[in-house]
Structures are given as C-alpha cells and as structure tokens.
Amino acid sequence: MLTIGMPRALVHYDCGDVWVKFFETLGAAVAVSPETAKDIVDIGVSLSVEDACLPVKVYLGHAAYMAKRCDYLFVPRLVSLEQRTYMCPKFLGLPDMVRAALRDSVRLIDPTIDLSKSARAMTQAVVRAASFLSKDPARSLSVWRTCSRAAAVCSTEADGRRKAVDCEEAAGLRIGVLSHPYIIIDRVLSMGLVDRLREMGASAILPESVLQDAVEPHLAELGRHIFWTHEKRIYGAGMAMASDPSISGIIIVQAFGCGPGSMIYDLFTRKCRRRSAVPVLNLSIDEHTGEAGIVTRLEAFVDMLTRAERGCM
C-alpha cells in the first residue's frame, strides 16, 4: 500500500484532516508527522533561507522528516479559499520551496487549490490529487464530498464544545489570543501559550471561536478589503473582541517577519487603541526566542489584568 506523508504544519491546520480522511478512504496509508519537536525545528532552519518566517522553516523540517518515511509527500498549493482573498505568498510557493529544500528527494502530490475565481477549481484539484490512487474521477469526487461534509459537521461540533468550555471557564479572565492557527495550535511555536494561560486561571479565546456575524461588521467598516484569508479573520475577530466587555486583554502572537501580520496587527492595534482601552500584548517568535522571556511577559500581563479586574489599578 502506498504511504502518503503529511507535514503537520502550516497548511495542515487549514485543511489537513479532510485530506487525511480522503486519502484513507481511497485506500492509501496516511502518515502525519509527529508534533513539532526541537530536532524538526533545527532541520527546518537549516534547510530554509534565513529570511523566511519560523512557521515556514518548521514546515520544511516536517517535510524533511516525512520525506524518508513515505512514498508521496502531500504539499497542497493553497492559493485561495474564497473569492478575492488569498493565502500568504509563501503558501502559494510552498511545493516549490519544498522541492528546492529537499532537492527532489521525494515525489510530491501538489494540487493547486485556487477558489478565487470559481469554487469549481476544487473539483480539478481533488481529481488531480487522487489521480494516482483512483482512475475514476467520479469516485474521487464522491469520496471528497463525503469527507468534506463530515469535516464540516466535525467543526460545527467542535465549535459547540469550545463554546461549552468557554462558559465553564467564564469565571476566570477571558483573554483574546490573536494568532494564526499554525502558530497557536503548535505547542512548540506558541510555547504552549493556551495551556499556560489555563494554568494561570485564564481562558484563551481564539479568532476561530468568534462568530462570523460578529466579525463581518468590522470588516465592512474598513475602507479596504483585506485580501488575506487568515488575517481577515484575525482582524475582524480582534475588533469584535475589543468591543466585547467580557474580554479583559488581547495577546497577539506573531511570527517574526510575518508579512501580512505586520500590516494587519498594526492596523488592528491602531484601530483598537482609538476605540477601546483593552490592553494589548504583542509577542513575536522566531527560532531564537527563549521560553523564559515569553513566560515572564505573559505572567506580567496576566498579573496586570488580574489587578485591574480587582480594581487595584
């Protein structure tokens, strides 16, 4: 049986689960790389150009790890998931960066997913990605539809659970955490920020858990369309958090040198400052960031918020 390797980083957090299910149903074995560890980071850093952001370096580390352990490496070229909106340019060139870094040592499955013009492009991407497993496009498509529908149900259920958790923890501080999924879910990249907040008695509210209805008005009042998928969500959710009185503080976690982030977090900070007094902590991470420094800043921030809650400030 063919083994398809998937790096657990970057795009994996956008669409990985659906593709795992899809390839498995079609009869391939799927191996996802383990959670990020120091050796994976080190390999990634050594394979990458130095200017790239840490998440991209980590992706290359995962890809190099999987390259030796699979027949095909799945590296989708995620161009756009909705009209007039794109992913970061580094997602657009991801398969090429992987090929260059690994010197063609592994075969890639790299469907181009570009839904900027029409949603039908997904069909082509699915058929192309599955072409070596199934010669029957109709079957590939029907499997894809089942998997993506199941994934949609899953994410709605997860939303429900997340909200339930939110309510349970409502007693403690509620802190908004603005970050990309591929940073905040990865415990090494985010230095376990969500867990640490929980240990300090605070709950982290992520952009994904803010309702779309609350996000839209903030995007609409902006003079310009934000043309990056993640950042659009982050900006809108951040503004919604800033106008939510139950949120005591907001933490931005960004990768050093993040391109879209540099613009959107700055725009958010400016707009937020004019409208609300909510404190904002800005953390940036790269391969040199020390855990102690991050923890100290986090503790100081939570202490400050706790005191403000008690009315000591």
Partner: protein
C-alpha cells in the same frame, strides 16, 4: 488641491508631468534621505517592508510642505503593497496630519474603471487635456528608461569614474524640465549622445566578450529606488560590470496595464520560464525574478543579483528556488536583502566579492585567460 505621492526612483518625473497636465498643484516630496527613512521607521510597524517605511517618510515630508491630497497605487494581493494605502492613511492620521487619500487600484482588465476614478478626481479636465498629459508622461517614462539602460551598460567603460552617472543626472533634469513631447525626445537624444561620448572606445572594443555581465532583478521598488538598494547599479558599473535591469516603469506598465487590455504578454513569458522552479505566481515580482534569472542564464550572463526588502514574501519564495536556477543555468546568483539596518560598507563588500568570484570563475573556465598560465588560473580558482 495640492497633490503628492511617494517616491520610487525617478517615477516622480512622469507623475509630476501627468498631474501638472491635469491641472493639479503638485508637491514632489523632498528627495529620499536618511531623515525620510527615520520618520518611516519611527512610525511604521517593525516588520513592514522597507518600501512602506520610506513611503510614509516621503508622504510625511510632503505633507509638511503643504500637500493636502495623497495619491497612491493600490493592489489586490497577495503582495503587501496592495494594502499600503490603507495603512499609510492610518499611520499618517495617527501622526496628526489632515489630508485626503486617494488609492487607485489596478484596472483588472477594465480601462473604464481607472478612467472613472481619474474622472472623479479631476472633474474639470477635458479628454484632450488628459490625453495630452498622459502622452507627455509616457514619453518621459520611455526616455528615462532608455537613458538609465544606456547608463547601466556604459559605466563600466567610462574614461572618468562617475562621469556617466553625472551625465545621466543632467539628462534627467532636462527631461524633468521639458514641457513638450518634442522637448523630451530632444533631451533624451542629447543625454544618450552625452553618455556615449564618455565611453572609452578602445575599452568598448575590448569589452565585447570580456566584461562581466550581471542582471539586477527583484522587488520592483527596491530595484528602482537607488536610496533603498544603495545604488547597486552604479556600484556594479563602477566595478567594471555591464548591468542589465529588466524591471523599469515602462516594462511594468506594459506588463500590468496595457497588455492586460490587449491580452498579450509581450514576448516575455515569466510563467513559462519560471515553471520548472516556481509553478505559480506568488504576488509582487517573485515569479519575474525567477524567470529573469532563467532568461539571463540562457543568454550567458555571468550573474544575477536579486535585491529585495527584508521580509518581502514573494522574494523569499523566489530566493528559496534561485539556487536551483543558478545551478541549472550556470549563472551565479546573490540575494541582497535590505532594510533600515543595511550598511553601505556591507553592500560594497558583498558586491566586490561577487564580482571577484565571477572573474575568478571565468579565469578558471579559460574564457579570458589566454594571458595567464593555467597554473595561475588554478590558483585563482582555489
């Protein structure tokens, strides 16, 4: 209405002609200086790319001089440039300026849109006035590109160090001052003749096959703005290198605006050339960078220098694959990544090392080494 716009190399010359022709009072920002950059660095986000920082500095200095309207090009992503206008507006508002911001988006295949946005800006202008202004501006763009291109090929051959750059500067002033299309062509011809007269003919003959040829590619702002790239073209020229720079204002307009309407790609097909290395456009000029490296590699150029601002997303993707182009096509490549921390001496050292490396490589390959013994050449190569 007192109109201003950020600098990008010599772009202010045609823009000034265009907007003056449309009846505007134009405030050209003071030439980009260290002070400009300091203003930008102070007020812009740390990780923003260098062009944003310099442009905010330019606009701040122009608003200080009394401008009240800022005109800026837009974009639709995924390069950050498309979001510049929005952020510049917010930054300048926070700095306390009162002004109007007009962002002109690329036409995306429809001429009407751009004409309409211009029409709303300049309601009193007639069509013939507008066409006249556009024609004058276009002639200036073409003239500047011809002059700069000749200067890049001539510096290596000049008898007196710095003479070509001085002649180029005078010619640009004359073009800036010209008020008619005929005047622009006259200034252009004079400038071309002046630069030609500075070239050492003996050297030129010798140069035919022996001078090092390098292409400068990369992110368009940093390529076109000498302040941002530390005058990389001039420095290379004065190191005895024939410089080719595929990016220019006219090239950009042809590729992105005019040919979009006509649905032509004008001979240069970046997608095809870059495909083995980069299978998709990545925004900005990332794919053009890779395609140009392939093109000049095939043409037998010795080297390609990629210049880009620090954290530039499309150029990081291009940089990641450039070493493969270099290997496949035997063209040396170097990435010069600049930001506000970049020091002049560092750039000079790297350029010298790059050119030295190319010369030694050539000696080792026996291209011009007839006067040297094989032993010497080997020493160089080691």
């Amino acid at each position: 209405m007192r109109l201003t716009f950020p600098h990008m190399g010599t772009l202010f010359i045609p823009l000034k002609a265009l907007f003056t022709g449309l009846g505007c009072d134009v405030v050209v920002p003071p030439p980009t200086s260290k002070r400009t950059l300091e203003i930008g660095v102070k007020h812009c986000p740390e990780f923003a790319c260098l062009p944003l920082k310099i442009s905010v500095g330019n606009l701040s200095e122009a608003l200080d001089l009394g401008a009240d309207t800022v005109i800026m090009a837009g974009g639709v992503g995924p390069c950050r440039f498309g979001f510049y206008g929005e952020l510049q507006k917010e930054i300048l508002l926070d700095m306390g300026y009162d002004f109007r911001m007009v962002v002109i988006d690329p036409p995306q295949g429809r001429a009407r849109h751009i004409l309409e946005s211009f029409k709303s800006l300049f309601p009193a202008v007639t069509l013939s006035q507008a066409l006249h202004a556009a024609r004058l501006a276009w002639s200036k763009i073409v003239a500047i590109d011809r002059l700069e291109s000749l200067a890049n090929r001539s510096r290596a051959l000049e008898r007196e160090r710095g003479a070509v750059s001085a002649a180029l500067g005078r010619a640009l002033e004359a073009i800036d001052a010209a008020e008619t299309v005929e005047g622009v062509w006259q200034a252009c011809e004079d400038g071309l003749a002046a630069i030609d007269s500075l070239v050492d003919a003996d050297k030129a003959e010798y140069a035919a096959g022996s001078l090092v040829r390098v292409a400068v590619v990369g992110e368009i702002y940093v390529v076109l703005e000498p302040f941002a790239n530390h005058c990389v073209e001039r420095k290379l020229g004065e190191l005895g290198v024939i410089v080719e720079r595929p990016l220019s204002i006219s090239h950009w307009l042809k590729l992105n605006v005019l040919l979009d309407f006509l649905n032509m790609s004008g001979g240069f097909r970046p997608g095809e050339l870059a495909r083995p290395y980069l299978g998709h456009t990545v925004g900005g000029h990332g794919r053009e960078t890779v395609a140009s490296a392939v093109k000049y590699g095939r043409q037998g150029y010795d080297g390609v220098i990629q210049v880009a601002p620090f954290t530039c997303m499309p150029e990081i993707v291009a940089e990641s694959v450039l070493h493969r182009v270099s290997k496949d096509h035997g063209i040396a490549s170097m990435s010069l990544v600049v930001d506000e921390q970049t020091g002049e001496a560092g750039v000079v050292t790297r350029l010298e090392a790059f050119v030295d490396m190319i010369r030694r490589r050539r000696l080792a390959h026996g291209a011009v080494s007839q006067r040297l013994t094989a032993k010497n050449a080997m020493c160089y190569y080691d």
